[in-house]
Amino acid sequence: MLRNLGFFSKISFAWLSLMLFFAIAGPLLPLPDPSEFSDALGAGIFTSGHLLGTDLNGYDLFANIVVGSRNSLFIAIISVGLGSLLGGILGIAAGYLRGKTDYVLTIFFNIFLSIPNLILSLVLIAVLATSPDPTQTVADSRRLVVIIISLTIVIIPILGRITRGSTLAWTNAEFVVAAKSMGMKDLMIIRRHIIPNVLPSIYAVAFLAIGIVIVVEGALSLLGIGVGQGISWGSMLARSQGDLEYAPTSLFVPLTFLALTVIACNQIGDALRQHLDSRESKL
């Protein structure tokens, strides 16, 4: 399938692979310690010893990006994976069973979609990661879990609605009607005929959703309720937002990585969707 993709999709694919490589093999790379000060404060890019420069505290930016990619991608992939799984199941249920199930599930999706996704995750995190005593903070590991859960909840209705639409279309296809009239069991039809046909559109939207999650994670960090002490691209942004005037690179480096990754995810999701559209119009 990769061969059919255009030039930009190939570049995007390469970029995402590189980011995944950073996330997986990061600690093995010969990089400065991300949490170690150096004498060069706020150095620009391509300074000797610091490929992408340092921030105002002297932390090496490239090392932080590599370590941060782990948190950022980890959060995005897990929450989108869980969200697609649950959203996919609900969407197929709504589209295949129709009637009351569909009515209730559609309203349920719309309820979640009517609250802007950043606000929904903001509220969920505020509620779930709050200790009764305002002076005490919540443990970072719990924060991470809460962030993943709330982003999953944000993703479920997005994926659910798309899957529902696609399932509705395939349920009307002649081969499904034929299978039904031959007495094939519903679960079997879903497994054999619906899921294989619906999956590609889930993949396409899942890539777009990864982009959404990375942006929301960055935004949450900018608002000050990101992954706590852990390093992520969002928390790098939040830390250097105030140093914009003195060390612009410390803001622009994570910003560029974040933006490029989101663009790459969108490009691949978009290419997959176009591929699907042309396949379906040929049917």
Partner: protein, 320 residues
């Protein structure tokens, strides 16, 4: 003709969504660890606390306290906002201050986005798959994928900090000078518009390309009407339905969903108030804010459906 039955059914569904969304919030907020007294009130003594709890209906179960809030909300009473230190402000005054700002910003963003995206959509569709289309479409794609806060920070740095061209913080009401008002809004409006107009233009482009294949366009061209006239007079109108729907869907999001842009530029719109309410743990006020966004979302959906019926009469008989 419109079918009254369908409209009523659609409205009923929207109402269900509105009640569901606010009740969902009420439920989530009940999950808070500790008693509501720790979060909602600011009285110093136990007696004052109990009175505040009682007046908000928080001593009852979720359902009846939700109904309590709902009846207040419908009557236009958005509840108190407890400031730290014991003072209290009605949430409605905060709403009166912030919502007009958010609406105005949203209006500027929509106007700018439509002004830029319609010509771009026309050009790219007319020159589909030619060099001009390739270049513009690639740029649009990148534009639609860039996160708004990345643009906000980058534009703020170059135009605001480096070149000192524009102010990067605060909001100036129109009454204090229209020029100054616009100047303060250039950066936020730009950073919200660029991703938006990129996605608008892309939607318009694909719609126009499919309209161009229709018989009435061939007919118009064969009658000798000039290309530009066909595009503007015959093609644009039937191609704009998806654009209207998308624009309407974005309205609700733009009113409150601009949390991060509001925060970066300190505009004091509804988005910033939402963040403030979350951090000040004023969850009842938050519930009212989000209910307002959901109401706006519903109003714009209904208006856009009506607009589509006017713009494209063919849709009137179609099932909603």
């Amino acid at each position: 003709m419109y079918k009254l039955n369908q409209i009523i059914q659609a409205l009923f569904k929207l109402l269900l969504v509105l009640i569901g969304a606010t009740f969902l919030l009420a439920l989530i907020l009940r999950l808070l660890p500790g008693s509501p007294a720790d979060f909602y009130t600011n009285a110093f003594d136990e007696q004052g606390r109990q009175e505040q709890i009682k007046s908000l209906g928080l001593d009852r179960n979720v359902f009846s306290s939700y109904l309590h809030w709902l009846f207040d909300f419908v009557r236009g009473d958005f509840g108190p906002f407890f400031m730290s230190g014991g003072s209290t402000r009605p949430t409605s005054t905060i709403i009166w201050e912030s919502v007009p700002r958010s609406l105005l910003i949203m209006l500027y963003v929509q106007i700018l986005s439509l002004l830029i995206s319609i010509p771009l959509g026309l050009i790219t569709a007319y020159r589909a798959d030619k060099a001009a289309d390739r270049v513009i479409s690639t740029a649009l794609f990148t534009g639609s994928a860039i996160p708004g806060f990345a643009l906000a920070l980058a534009l703020g740095y170059y135009l605001g900090v480096r070149l000192q061209l524009l102010p990067t913080l605060g909001y100036v009401p129109i009454s204090e000078g229209f020029g100054e008002h616009l100047k303060h809004l250039v950066l936020p409006v730009l950073s919200l518009s660029i991703p938006l107009c990129a996605s608008y233009a892309r939607i318009l482009r694909s719609e126009i390309i499919s309209t161009l294949r229709q018989d009435f366009v061939t007919m118009a061209v064969s009658k000798g009407i000039s290309n530009s006239r066909v595009l503007v007079k015959h093609v644009l109108r039937p191609s704009s339905t998806s654009l209207i729907t998308t624009a309407a869907l974005n309205m609700g999001g733009l009113i409150g969903g601009t949390v991060i842009i509001d925060q970066i530029f300190a505009l004091g719109g509804l988005g910033q108030q939402i963040t403030f309410a979350v951090f000040a743990r004023q969850y009842l006020a938050l519930q009212s804010y989000i209910a307002l966004i959901a109401v706006a979302f519903i109003i714009f959906t209904v208006v856009s459906d009506a607009l589509i019926g006017i713009v494209d009469p063919r849709t009137r008989n179609r099932n909603a």
